[in-house]
Amino acid sequence: MTVILGQLFTGVSIGAVLLLIALGLALTFGQMNVINMAHGEFIMAGAYTTYVLQQTITDAGLSLLVALPVAFAVAGAMGVLLEWALIRRLYTRPLDTLLVTWGVSLMLQQLARDIFGAPNVQTKAPDILTESTSLGADLSIANSRLFILGLVLLAVAALTAALKFTPLGRRIRAVVQNRDLAAVSGIPTARVDRLTFFIGSGLAGVAGVALTLLGPIGPTMGTNIIIDAFLVVVVGGIGQLKGSVIVAFVLGMLQAMVEYLTTLSVAKVIVFIAIVAFLQWRPQGLFTLRTRSLA
């Protein structure tokens, strides 16, 4: 029983990391139908921000807390720059955006290699996060994973509230539901797009801070995890967040369970097959916005 509980929690924490990354993607993909392959490099930027801050602020706990808003701002600014320079010119060509942002991600990786060196670097986690909380007999949970789970829940709550109650959120929802109608109603869609991109990319930066607690920081850290996050968005359905939230945790737990029963490599394949099978049932993802478009 404890084994299963332990695996379930592993799954939840895999899902939490996935969700933190997928939140930003769900936002930008949902609103602009844009695949941003450089999202993974914004994660990397957030992680390196944590590393740099820790060089100046030696207290691990304080530097982590400072890193959260700073990484949000750094990654968000990079996102705005990318949107302004390239993506806004390519809104009608989603597949080309994918390739262009892949090119950007290659260059950012090389930039990181030139600045920080090719080998991975490490940050020091605050003591309280390196310990574990024990739950019952022989089940204990790493505090860093609990911290990430809390961070994700906070991010989801904040984002949901922002989308629901703020004027900006209202505009974002309007643009997602019907871009043309929003534009003729006087919503500055281009500016809303840019702000969405800022928030979405900023969330990637926060995810990068969280990832420093789990492993080393390297130039290619974003590449592998980004695909799983994209799958979360595809399966969850675009245009809203709840699909991504559910799917991230379900996929995380599925991955953990299958991995426990077989091996990591087989689990990846089985999860992929499960996703293709799921798309047979709901090709538009778990939840979709009702639209009148033919697609």
């Binding site: 080309d96 994918l98 262009v100 595809v234 490599s265 990846k268 798309l279 047979q280």
Partner: protein, 368 residues
């Protein structure tokens, strides 16, 4: 007026085909050293993959970011046979002996000892996988970026699977040290030349096939599906089947390329077929011109050549350049270098002629 433009398309195609044959079969072997020629053989394998991507992506709008999977399936099928042939009847390939995890050959390796089965598998196995994924995905109208992400996820899963099953697949190292090719010693330069000639011949044959396909009714239909899938559906066709054919053909070409890559280079490994190499296949096609017949071939060879020339001396610079190529070509010259000629010609002439069908739609790509 250029005298070449007055010829009929059929005559021009034959001329081009003949020119290609002269370059590949006479000029290149005469002018290049054995080392350069074996590099060219490798590039031509990438070019074969590019022909398939040009068909699926340039003509069909299917951005497949997972051609490495099919390249790998073909490559591994061929390498498994060659490893078994190297080991001799009844023996296990050297790496299996080395790891010592297995007492006997795994059952799924055994059929690859048969050369006919292995050769057929290099093409049919990728086509089968593409058919499976494609028929599920296209039938449910999963398309555009969704399809691209799924194809990329397939590449990621395949690589993790190969690395994880080290005892039977060679893991990260892949299948290496391939010595013979159907009885011919691959260390012998003469036999390396033979492999080059086979690859060049296959490339030309596939180009001819692809040209026929592009100019057939099916080719027209494929472009129509790319540009307006709904209209094609309303006309009574099933776009899923049209896409499926392009995807499966592209997969078969990638598989064949992978199979030829193995004797040319002597290795197949997960690093050659994962996410990054898969997307590198696409960049050559984009640079050359995705919708043109020859664009992908020339683009793939040029990019692969540039990579070899630059990445050894300036690895960092090459990565920047590669990234910049993606950005500049895809964003600002979506027709690739193949469209430059047309653009220049149009600028020079006072009254612009009607753009070609394939080009016009590329300017404003269909929203997914």
């Amino acid at each position: 007026m250029n005298p070449l433009t007055n010829l009929s398309p059929r005559v021009r195609a034959w001329l081009g085909f003949g020119l290609g044959a002269v370059v590949l079969f006479a000029a290149a072997p005469a002018l290049l050293t054995d080392f350069r020629l074996s590099l060219l053989a490798k590039y031509l394998c990438f070019a074969i993959v590019a022909v398939g991507i040009g068909l699926a992506w340039g003509r069909g709008g299917l951005l497949t970011l997972g051609q490495g999977v099919f390249f790998g399936l073909g490559g591994y099928a061929m390498a498994m046979h060659l490893k078994l042939a190297d080991a001799g009847e009844g023996n296990m390939p050297d790496f299996m002996e080395l790891y010592g995890q297995l007492d006997e050959l795994p059952a799924w390796w055994a059929p690859f000892a048969n050369p006919v089965f292995a050769l057929a598998a290099t093409v049919l196995l990728p086509m089968l996988v593409a058919f499976g994924l494609g028929s599920l995905v296209f039938r449910r109208r999963v398309r555009g970026a969704y399809f691209a992400i799924l194809s990329q996820a397939l590449a990621a899963a395949m690589v993790i699977l190969l690395i994880g099953q080290q005892g039977t697949t060679g893991g990260t190292n892949g299948l290496t040290d391939i010595e013979g090719f159907f009885g011919y010693d691959l260390d012998d330069p003469v036999n390396q030349r033979m492999v080059y000639f086979i690859i060049a011949g296959v490339l030309l044959a596939l180009l001819a096939l692809t040209r026929q396909l592009m100019h057939s009714r099916y080719g027209e239909l494929l472009v129509a599906v790319r540009d307006s899938e709904e209209r094609v559906r309303f006309l009574g066709y099933n776009p899923a089947n049209v896409k499926l054919v392009a995807y499966v053909v592209a997969a078969g070409m990638a598989g064949l390329a992978g199979a030829l890559f193995v004797p040319a280079v002597g290795i197949i490994s997960p690093a050659l077929i994962g996410i990054v190499p898969s997307i590198e296949f696409v960049i050559g096609v984009a640079v050359g011109g995705r919708a043109a017949l020859l664009g992908p071939v020339l683009g793939a060879v040029a990019v692969a050549w540039a990579k070899t020339a630059l990445s050894e001396r300036f690895p960092g610079t090459w990565t920047y350049l590669q990234g910049a190529m993606f950005v500049l070509v895809v964003a600002f010259l979506p027709g690739g270098l193949a469209s430059l000629w047309g653009l220049l010609k149009r600028r020079r002439e006072a009254t612009p002629p009607a753009p070609e069908v394939g080009e016009r739609v590329l300017v404003k790509e269909v929203a997914a």
